[in-house]
Subunit: 280 residues, 2 copies
């Protein structure tokens, strides 16, 4: 949302965003009154849609599963984690996987899916409370990148064997240190770069190509939209793991439509553990 | 050879290098007297080997094909080009491929293989003579990166449609400009970084991750040794194309063992067109 809004939006535009909404009036039989939809209509309390930006909430959504998960662990962030780990990184049993921004909406799911696949999982996050939460979720190693004396040493200590997979959400300097700790034939999935979203000019660092060359590392950028047709199956998978208790989800809930800008800025500053949700 | 020697060799070590050599004495029936071998014994006029660093010259090497090609277009540089184009980039008919250091031992083969596969090929090189040679080889577009007013504009002009594939031999600033011109889902094969080999400290530039992310670009470092078991088949393929006239090779020949250091430094400074060969 942040890089998109910075690049493509101007003052007065409706801020982009995804919501779980209830249909209260309908002329479209695909979306009957009372049904719940996931909508990308942006930051609005009420919206009119021709149906193109709507998806019905997954059929048989269990009553005891919060519907807000449809924009979290069992929604786009969950799918992003799923495709990143399975389709891009192809993480295998016994491999070591690193994820940064690990306590966020995507990172928490990445780590849990990697554990389901039998990986050793290392997470980096920006507070001790987040680190504690990662341990609770079953991460093998987790550290607070803001307080470790050296990021390089922290990465080495967490996985002296090096990393096979790296799910990259942060960018900037973190990427340089992580690349140095990749094993030969390591894979990096580039999902985001939250450390760079506020920049007005590109941050610079050492060119990574020599290391990529010598270690025969593979780096791939991706967005979940690439696997659009796999979404229904992916959501079923995530829901299955959630029901089995293998995929846990915590939400950082802010109440009130008027608090959305503050919630958004707080998320970018790392205030949330898990998906940032605003209830209206 | 350059980064390896910088990292791992000390004064007095025998410089690494590959040669086509004739067996003049033998106690190993696999390498009879009079046979020709490709040897990685380094810079030596005569060497004793236990056979481990020797490969017999391809069987049925035609009399009219210079044996020196076994360390060039029908040797390691040729295989590097082949694996980079076919296994890493998976270049497809109709795609646009960019290669830099295009007039070198690897680059010339990269461009010709990409043409064989039906690609549009763009080459960057460091002299007008090299550019003329690339055109002679069938490159669709070629430019002298040292004299174009803007590398960015030269890359755009050569392929306004953008690049599907980029075979990277240079690194540094070139990589930043090339990345900006990649199409969505573009692939980059990192084979070398000749612009950085003399550096005593890492060159810096803008972090590439945001572009990699948004364009869903894939970057992979590689070395030909990864496909060791495919070498015999790969060499047959290269020899076949050579015989058909689809793969041409020019060599930059220096005479005399004592001139090897000068030839090596000249190659790093871009004096050669095609493979740098020293005859002894």
């Amino acid at each position: 949302m942040r890089p998109f809004s910075k690049l493509y939006m101007k003052e007065g535009d409706v801020m982009i965003g995804t919501q779980v909404a209830k249909v209260i009036q309908s002329k479209n039989s695909a979306f009957p009154v009372g049904s719940h939809v996931v909508s990308s209509c942006g930051w609005k309390t009420h919206a009119i849609s021709d149906g193109k930006d709507l998806t019905l909430l997954m059929a048989d959504w269990p009553k005891n599963v919060p519907m807000s998960l449809a924009v979290g662990a069992i929604g786009m962030p969950g799918l992003t984690a799923l495709y990143g780990v399975e389709a891009v990184l192809k993480a295998q049993k016994g491999e070591t996987l690193l994820v940064n921004a690990a306590a966020g909406a995507v990172g928490t799911v990445v780590g849990q899916i990697a554990k389901i696949h039998g990986c050793k999982v290392v997470g980096s996050a920006g507070s001790d409370a987040k680190v504690a939460y990662l341990k609770e979720l079953g991460f093998d190693e987790a550290f607070n990148y803001k307080t470790v004396p050296s990021l390089e040493e922290a990465l080495k200590k967490a996985a002296p064997e090096g990393y096979d997979c790296f799910f990259e959400n942060v960018g900037g300097q973190f990427s340089t240190f992580a690349l140095q700790q990749m094993k030969e034939f390591g894979r990096i999935a580039v999902c985001g770069g939250i450390s760079t979203y506020h920049d007005t000019a590109y941050q610079t660092g050492p060119y990574p190509l020599t290391t990529i060359n010598w270690k025969q590392v593979k780096i791939e950028g991706f967005m979940q939209s690439r696997w659009q047709s796999d979404h229904p199956q992916g959501l079923k998978k995530l829901m299955g793991w959630y029901k089995e208790g293998k995929l846990k989800s915590r939400e950082h809930v802010t109440k009130g439509f008027e608090n959305m800008p503050a919630a958004f800025m707080g998320m970018l500053q790392g205030e949330n553990i898990g998906k940032a949700i605003v209830t209206v």
